[in-house]
Symmetry: C2
Subunit: 457 residues, 2 copies
């Protein structure tokens, strides 16, 4: 292995490059980057647009120089246009516009995902935005600075929609959220979503659920978003954030198999069906650890892990991806919401027999100042009591996200509800209780399950 | 099983009572409580003494009424004086001073621990305090209120000493800490202890390490603490917080075997060597999960777990204690320090071949406001790369304690360093990085280990 070529300079691509170079410094590693922003934290864009991150350059996980100092070649503003898997060559368009061929011994695709563009009228109107890449953010930031819009409508109440509702409110704008589902943040149960809606309302965000957007039209100086049931709202701008789908054009042309939502099929070693071509990140199907089947979960954490494994295996390693649990967290104003594993509806869909129990607790001993309510919803399997998933919601200082991670570590290790009580978790009154909320909620689950089954004694 | 008698109304005793009653409501459960404060959070005493908890009654995990409403009988201000294991009777001294015999079918000892009283002159002087039980706190609080001392010397820089340094400083007093070891908080490595010393210094606490206290003498209106190397310091009061040892008098009289530091020997089902007598909490030896041998770790978390197991088994259950990892956390001013598992020195003492690597990171993406430095020290076994322990230090809003718990869950499940990278941990820029600090520090450990061993590829 002499030449490792990587297409894509975001999380998966750069992780792969760094890992390959770390393990095998003699390999020539080149990364083809479509824009000028390799290894930028696109998860940070809402915080740039809110004004909390003053300098967009701070969003770089590493600078181009940092990466080059590791001995990794970067081809910025180069776009890969085709792969010849027989000749082991990739055609790339250079910034000047001409094509150039790059040979490889091993190739890693980290082409990522792109924003879903709903098929409704008005998506091309000035003042309608998508948000995924750095350039999207620059276009939106310029609009915000130049036009000083006073109001915004956000279509889609997923992670990006929620973070942008926070961001634009922070910027002094009146924000309206429109969501098709019957609560916001539908990656969590409705009970959790409703608490998020309360937090949004507390900060002046207007939330409209159960509205399918049917189009956007110009309305004087404003844009009018139209939706089902006669819905209509005017604002100075519209952000459409309804998810992402994998970029697979290059892969398809090279005869690489794709699956769910068009995502590239890979094995647990991140190999595609074409020899010497690996793929990782938002462009691939992701193995779900609990379901032991493929899902599509475009997340930076997974992209980093998969990229690292692809990089290691491309230089001769033999590591398998452990699978994802769909662990996610998001901060919305003063709340943090997180999840890992399966929710009740997902477990049911997978043919399991779940029970989900919600527990409301204090995040730490209530006698110590600053205690906040914390909600935990545990999903586990009836009968076996195997832990399947957990959702946690609470204040941003309530260690919500790392409590999610304690559950994630437990699910990773196939622990049962009762096993959670055996965990030796830390306690000090300002931060927890002698039984951590993770364990108190497990005990509540047990009590509920016991009502459904005979006494084990 | 008709009558379950429990001696001790703190964490272990009340947990046992609640669990027994939950699983077997027909059992008659009685708890003998030496003072008037069943189920109080004695871990909260420093926060009562600091003034942060205004009402001491808020320290109750549950009120006496809550407990009685569960059908549990409480005998307050009753002191058990002897056990007749043949007749299955316990003699208790009632508040009036007379003795009464209580029969039992099963007995659980949760007699707890008491403060170590160093054998140095001056311990009986007015103005010298110990701190473990509610009554200790009331005596100290009255002194603080009535005498308004301006300065204090704290002997011992363990968890209670550190929390009380914070508490008395918060109360406006000048605090001096005297510690025999060469850094404070010796349950963590010296590198961590020194950062805690810096935080103490930043708040005006004077720290004196490597000083063995030799005595306390009256010095006008003040007390003078004398120590090795000519050490001498004057202050208006002295708090001696040099640890605790198990209360085992009752057990010894009943022929119950004791071991380390005099702690009661129990099996994994919390049974003593005497039929139908269980024991749990600060009065027993605790099985260390990694070492698979007994240790003495008096902590509320463990007492709750062991009590719950003793209660379950006493009413016919068959649950084993999973073992402790010595997980602990403490907040000192704006810092939180935590640990789980083995440190390098402890692993060496156990005959293992550890490597300990420290990593300094940001707690979350540095571009998002409010990032703080976070230090993680990972101890793992050379060769196998089995995770043995972790110490984490950082800001109180850096989710330090639940990051410790992610390590605790990993050690509980015998994970290796590389396994940590497979964990699907949550990420959002305000709270973490795509690789959580738990994983970044694991990767640093791997890099250090690789320098010591051949390339695996």
């Amino acid at each position: 292995m002499r030449k490792l070529l990587i297409i894509g300079g975001s999380d998966a691509g750069i992780s792969a490059a760094l890992r390959a170079k770390e393990l095998c410094p003699a390999t020539e590693v080149t990364v083809v980057v479509a824009d000028r922003y390799p290894n930028f934290s696109i998860c940070g864009l809402p915080f740039y647009l809110s004004g909390e991150v003053a300098d967009w350059q701070a969003l770089a996980h590493r600078t181009a120089r940092d990466i080059e100092n590791e001995g990794i070649g970067l081809l910025l503003q180069h776009t890969a246009v085709s792969i010849d898997a027989t000749q082991k060559e990739v055609s790339v368009r250079r910034p000047q516009g001409d094509l150039r061929k790059l040979g490889y011994d091993r190739l890693i695709l980290g082409t990522g995902a792109e924003s879903i563009r709903p098929r409704v009228a008005g998506m091309d109107l000035r003042g309608v935005f998508l948000l995924r890449w750095m350039d999207d953010a620059f276009i939106l930031e310029r609009f915000l600075s130049d036009r000083q819009p006073k109001s915004a409508t956000i279509v889609g109440a997923g992670y990006i929609g929620m973070e942008m509702a926070d961001a634009l409110t922070r910027r002094g704008m009146a924000v309206t959220v429109v969501e098709f589902a019957d609560s916001v943040l539908t990656t969590l149960d409705k009970e959790m979503g409703q608490r998020v809606e309360t937090e949004l309302g507390r900060h002046g965000v207007r939330v409209n659920t159960r509205v399918g957007v049917t189009g956007i039209v110009q309305s004087g100086d404003q844009l009018r978003v139209l939706g089902s049931g006669g819905f209509s709202t005017n604002s100075d701008m519209v952000l459409v954030a309804v998810g992402a789908h994998p970029r697979n054009e290059l892969a398809l042309c090279a005869g690489i198999q794709t699956g769910l939502k068009g995502a590239i099929k890979v094995d647990r070693r991140m190999r595609t069906n074409v020899a010497d071509i690996f793929a990782a990140g938002d462009c691939v199907e992701t193995r779900h650890r609990l379901l032991a089947q493929s899902t599509y979960i475009p997340l930076g954490t997974i992209a980093h892990k998969q990229g690292r494994i692809a990089g290691e295996n491309a230089v001769g390693g033999d590591r398998e991806f452990g699978g994802s649990l769909g662990t996610q967290a998001v901060k919305i104003f003063d709340l943090v919401a997180g999840r890992t594993g399966l929710r009740d509806c997902e477990a049911l869909a997978a043919g399991l027999k779940p029970l989900t129990v919600e527990t409301e607790m204090w995040d730490h001993k209530a006698y110590y100042p600053g205690a906040h309510k914390l909600w935990v919803r545990i999903t586990a399997e009836l009968g076996s009591h195997r832990l399947l998933g957990a959702q946690v919601l609470g204040h941003r200082h309530s260690e919500v996200s790392k409590r999610v991670d304690v559950f994630a570590a437990a699910i990773h290790n196939a622990m049962s509800i009762e096993d959670l009580n055996d965990l030796d978790l830390s306690y000090t009154p300002p931060l927890s209780s002698p039984w951590d909320p993770v364990q108190m909620s497990a005990q509540e689950w047990s009590k509920s399950a016991r009502l459904l089954t005979p006494n084990p004694l």
